[in-house]
């Protein structure tokens, strides 16, 4: 029984990380139809910010964490302004290629100007200690990660439902031009979406760094790939879908890790993606894909 609970909590914390990142991809996709493959590099920016703090001998964990999150948000905003705004009206393919381009450029910037090798960041190890509650052994990091994700989801929901700019972000996923016709500045809506996306990447960065303890130029690649899969499973463009997809992927991954015999251990991802493929056969557009616009009611 304890074992089941323990693995359940494992699944939750895996899922929480995917959900954080998937939400970041989904909120940008929902309003501009762009899969931001540079999301992983935004996570890396957070990681390198931690390195910079360490180099400056700033060890205060609050400053390090806040700094990483703020750096990720600024990086995300900057990408919107510099790279994505000029192609906003272009073909979706152009946006996709831009995202890949930005991703490659940033990775090379890290390679050339920082280091191709992993750099250790030890300032966040304190987040991870074993705790035991009623015979269940947990890592504190998993608890923090799950709780943070829940808080973020609730806060995001409140923002999207209670504020005018939040309503505009939701409305923009349906009809951006009409949002402009209510007088809300398009640039503010885009900037807000990228700001939120950067915030989510920054938070995920803290947990990724606390677990790995080092940063390299490809830090964000794997997590964002998984987040992309989570978005596809949940239904691309749907925010609840991104959350559901994230947690589902986490659960499947942990289930495979636990259930596969030792000899097949290296093939976990293959089995995970097989299950993802089965889900997509069942629901080709993802589980919670937004309803297809069937035209105006006349």
């Amino acid at each position: 029984m304890e074992y089941v609970i323990q693995q359940g909590l494992n699944a939750l914390s895996f899922g929480a990380e995917y959900a954080l990142l998937a939400l970041g991809l989904a909120i940008v996709f929902s309003i501009m139809g762009l899969v931001n493959f540079a999301h992983g590099e935004i996570i890396a920016v957070g990681g390198y910010t931690m390195v910079a703090f360490a180099a400056l001998a700033i060890g205060n964990p609050v400053i390090v964490m806040a700094g990483a999150v703020i750096a990720a948000m600024l990086a995300s905003l900057t990408l919107e302004r510099v790279a994505f705004r000029p192609v906003r009206k272009a073909d979706p393919t152009t946006g996709l290629l831009t995202a890949f381009g930005v991703s490659i450029v940033l990775q090379n910037v890290f390679l050339m100007f920082v280091s191709p090798r992993p750099i250790a960041v030890t300032s966040l190890y304190f987040l991870d200690w074993p705790i035991e509650i009623a015979g269940i052994r947990l890592a504190s990091l998993q608890v923090f990660e799950t709780l943070t994700t829940i808080v973020v989801i609730v806060a995001l929901m409140l923002f999207l439902r209670r504020t005018v700019l939040g309503l505009a972000v939701r409305a923009a996923s349906l009809d951006f031009e009409m949002v402009r016709l209510t007088g809300i500045k398009a640039n503010r809506v885009f900037a807000m979406a990228f700001l939120i996306s950067g915030l989510l990447a920054g938070l995920a960065c803290i947990f990724i760094m606390a677990r790995r303890g080092s940063v390299d130029p490809h830090l964000g690649f794997d997590p964002v790939l998984k987040a992309f899969v989570a978005c596809v499973v949940g239904g691309f463009g749907s925010l609840p879908g991104a959350v559901l997809g994230g947690f589902l992927l986490g659960a499947v991954e942990v289930a495979m890790l636990v259930m596969l015999p030792q000899s097949l251990g290296g093939m976990t991802d293959a089995f995970v993606f097989m299950i993802v493929a089965l889900i997509l056969i069942w629901r080709p557009d993802g589980i919670l894909s937004p309803a297809i616009e069937k035209g105006d009611k006349l």
Binding site: A171, M178, V179, I184, D296, L298
Partner: protein
């Protein structure tokens, strides 16, 4: 009835009454020119109707006024040239639109649609009063305030679209085909509403294919065909002219 002239009718209104003045407006969709140099005039507190068959360029004209479509020529709003302004700036200066096809935010609730309509309204109390006002006028919207707007019928969606536009407390309301695809009974309701708005002093530019109903309300009307204004005059003048029927039905 006056034949179409490139310049606006100088004798009809003094400069001060003019709210919206359009001169030599060309509107483009990509490389295609949809409107070939029209001029028209909307006076404060009046209901001006823009009539014409499908594809005449009526919606293109509206899109040019709001800044959605690329256009050349002069658009003056309250004695200020706005043709170089962004869409958002034009809306902020007091132009509101209920667009063709209603374009309500079907994934948002009715209340959220109205809230977004008042996005530029800073006064929260005022916003609340406006919402109450529209809910009292359309009880059906009040009943379903927390339902997704996509669940409304076509007529209800049209009312929501008009209410959303008016939440901005605009100086001029652009109404694009408010009767399109609605049952006759609902069409009457919509035109009653437009009549009430006009009586309260709202300046309205009404784009319609339903010429009979539109001319009942309009103080002055322009008839468009193939991207040009082919006739204009008071509702009486235009209603009696053969040209109107000819253009709308294709029967000469």
């Amino acid at each position: 009835m006056t034949p179409a002239r490139p310049l606006i009718d100088e004798g009809r209104a003094s400069q001060a009454d003019r709210m919206l003045t359009i001169q030599d407006l060309h509107v483009f969709h990509g490389p295609i020119e949809a409107v070939h140099g029209i001029s028209l005039n909307v006076e404060r507190g009046k209901c001006i109707s823009l009539l014409g068959p499908n594809g005449a360029g009526k919606t293109s004209t509206i899109s040019a006024i709001t800044g959605i479509a690329r256009a050349t020529g002069s658009i003056r709003f309250e004695d200020r040239e706005i043709s170089a302004d962004s869409v958002e700036a034009r809306i902020a200066s007091g132009i509101a639109v209920s667009p063709e096809g209603r374009r309500i935010f079907s994934n948002l609730t009715i209340l959220e649609n109205l809230t977004l309509g008042a996005a530029l309204q800073r006064d929260q109390a005022e916003k609340g009063r406006d919402i109450d006002h529209w809910f009292s006028l359309f009880p059906i919207l009040a009943e379903r305030r927390d339902q997704a707007a996509g669940t409304l019928s076509g007529g209800e969606q049209q009312m929501l679209a008009i209410a959303r536009a008016l939440m901005a407390r605009p100086k001029i309301l652009l109404l694009d085909e408010p009767s399109l695809g609605l049952a006759p009974k609902i069409v009457r309701q919509i035109f009653d509403l437009i009549g009430t708005l006009k009586d309260k002093g709202m300046t309205i530019l009404l784009v319609e294919q339903n010429a009979t109903q539109a001319l009942k309300l309009a103080d002055y009307a322009y008839l468009m065909s193939s991207g040009r204004i082919v006739a204009h005059g008071t509702a009486d003048e235009l209603g009696k002219s053969d040209k109107l029927m000819a253009e709308l039905t294709g029967v000469a």
